[in-house]
């Protein structure tokens, strides 16, 4: 019989603060997030300099997060006026996932 640990509390120190994360390193408590933490995570993701365009997207995600879940790419592009193509330039290799991580929100998920 398979038994699995479904609820694990892991913590990590980011930008001098201890925050709760899941196994994949996504923050699980949206209220522990700060701009300094965002900068540090972005740095880890290879984004060394967050421009006003990056912040526009991050702030939009923070404002529209539903129950800690990041908005979809379409919601982001519709809400910020930044095109999907530009999103891939700002957050290369999977912008929806990358933005979710930097904004301290859950990654995009399916039902299973």
């Amino acid at each position: 019989m398979t038994t699995l640990q479904t609820q694990t509390t892991l913590t990590r120190e980011i930008a001098g603060r201890t925050v709760q994360v899941n196994e994949e390193g996504y923050m699980t408590q949206a209220n522990e997030w700060s701009r300094e933490i965002a900068g540090a995570i972005a740095h880890d993701e290879g984004l060394l300099d967050l421009t006003p365009a990056h912040w526009k997207v991050i702030e939009f995600c923070r404002q529209t997060a539903n129950g800690g879940k990041s908005p979809t790419l379409r919601q982001i592009t519709g809400g910020t006026g930044i095109t999907t193509k530009e999103m891939f330039a700002l957050f290369p290799k999977g912008p929806a996932k990358k933005v979710a991580r930097i904004a301290g929100l859950g990654k995009p998920e399916g039902c299973v």
């Binding site: 699995l4 640990q5 609820q7 790419l73 919601q75 999907t84 995009p108 399916g110 039902c111 299973v112």
Partner: protein, 414 residues
């Protein structure tokens, strides 16, 4: 006399019409219920998946809508041109304007291949197919009958989509189909998904990732299709990745009905934002949305519509008598996943509980196995067609609770 309008006679609209006819007409004639839909045919949409492989044909998946509409409900076959929520009025394509006291929107979701460059153009129905419509499934059946093999790519353009597990089911059934035809060695199966993987929930991923590896189905994760090049036969993503194909089976962008958007009631995909526990619009307390039309974080699936209608019916009766709506709907979904070779999986989950292993509906006994392949699950899926036509659409009682139960599920460390 109070007027209730239901827009859309698909799965959710038909079920809620039956449910409310029973509840509102039980002991009074105070309510007039009107159901509006432009099409006379009801489709058993879960059956579309079986048509490309010759398991079902057209007759399995279509019946007249009127067969499922109770005598106490007026049915108008017309297009819906405009909803005026400020005036409690709906304009129809036949020139009628209908006033309402309460409005239930159940206009569903549909595919939009025209939203992706190159997808719904000259190769559509030839080297590019879909199984998200009856016509599409039938055309794909014809193509698969004589296909010589090559690379079959299934791509999901964007989420949310109706029946989120259907792409996986299609690929696992295709694996079995080509094996049985003795040509599996000449077919490459590829799943291009915008999600980070085929399975994104931790327990499901842990238990099911091996299935795709065993079946030699390759996954191309985080593939956001920007365009299709139908002549070069390749998919191109926003980050410039390319996937060549010989046969593309696509799940195009899904959107709600255009009239939702043009009436100012929709989100960016023309779904109606409503409370995820009660289905009431945040803006108009006499408007509700059920089924795929609702912008809620639940799966767009028939089982969700069934459980939703189950909780909504009693809630609505209290509401019209002045009571507050209770947060009854928990996001419950229950989906069989056909996995080929006469087997299937079953998942049961809600807003807060991811799919877990165990037995359903009877703890320890089943007969269905959660997150685990079994023959019983396959038979459950095949029996489901009869259940749909004979029980679910008519909103007859099922001995299964609307809310998800933890009984029978295996938890961490237990």
């Amino acid at each position: 006399m109070k007027k209730l309008l239901i827009l859309g006679a698909g799965t959710a609209g038909t079920m809620v019409a039956n449910k409310l006819d029973r509840l509102l007409h039980a002991d009074s004639d105070d309510w007039q219920i009107t159901l509006i839909d432009q099409h006379p045919i009801h489709y058993y949409q879960p059956g579309f998946l079986f048509i490309p492989f010759g398991i079902y044909d057209k007759d399995d998946v279509i019946k007249p809508k009127r067969d499922f509409i109770p005598a106490g409900v007026e049915f108008i076959e017309a297009t819906i041109e405009q909803i005026e929520p400020e005036h409690n009025r709906v304009h129809l394509g036949n020139g009628q304007a209908l006033a309402y006291d309460f409005l239930i929107i159940a206009t569903g979701a549909d595919i939009h291949p025209e939203q992706t460059p190159g997808l719904g153009e000259h190769a559509w129905g030839h080297s590019i197919h879909t199984f998200y419509s009856l016509e599409g499934s039938m055309a794909l059946f014809e193509t698969l009958r004589t296909w010589k093999g090559g690379r079959l790519v299934l791509n999901v353009v964007e989420n949310p989509i109706k029946c989120p597990v259907a792409p996986l089911e299609f690929l696992m059934m295709a694996d079995a189909f080509f094996c049985e035809k003795g040509m599996r060695d000449r077919v490459e199966l590829v799943y291009a998904t915008p999600l980070p993987g085929a399975f994104t929930k931790p327990v499901a991923a842990h238990m099911l990732n091996h299935l795709l590896a065993e079946k030699n189905i390759k996954v191309e994760p985080e593939f956001m299709t920007e365009r299709v090049e139908p002549d070069a036969k390749k998919l191109v993503s926003y980050d410039e990745r390319e996937i060549g194909y010989d046969l593309l089976v696509s799940v195009p962008l899904n959107m709600g009905a255009a009239v939702i958007g043009s009436s100012g009631l929709g989100d960016e995909l023309n779904y109606v934002p409503v409370d995820q526990y009660t289905f009431v619009s945040g803006k108009y307390p006499n408007i509700f949305a059920l089924g795929d039309a609702a912008a809620i974080p639940a799966s767009k699936a028939g089982s969700v519509a069934h459980f939703a209608v189950d909780t909504f019916g009693e809630n609505f009766v209290g509401y019209i008598h002045g009571q507050e709506l209770k947060p009854l709907f928990d996001g419950h979904a229950n989906c069989f996943i056909e996995s080929g070779f006469g087997k299937g999986l079953l998942i049961d989950f809600n807003y807060t509980t991811e799919p877990l292993p165990g037995r359903y509906p009877l703890p320890g006994l089943g007969p269905f196995t959660l997150l685990e392949e079994s023959k019983a699950n396959h038979w459950g899926k095949m029996m489901f067609k009869w259940m749909y036509w004979n029980i679910l659409l008519k909103a007859r009682e099922l001995p299964l609770p609307a809310q998800m139960s933890m009984a029978g599920k295996q938890l961490a460390g237990k």
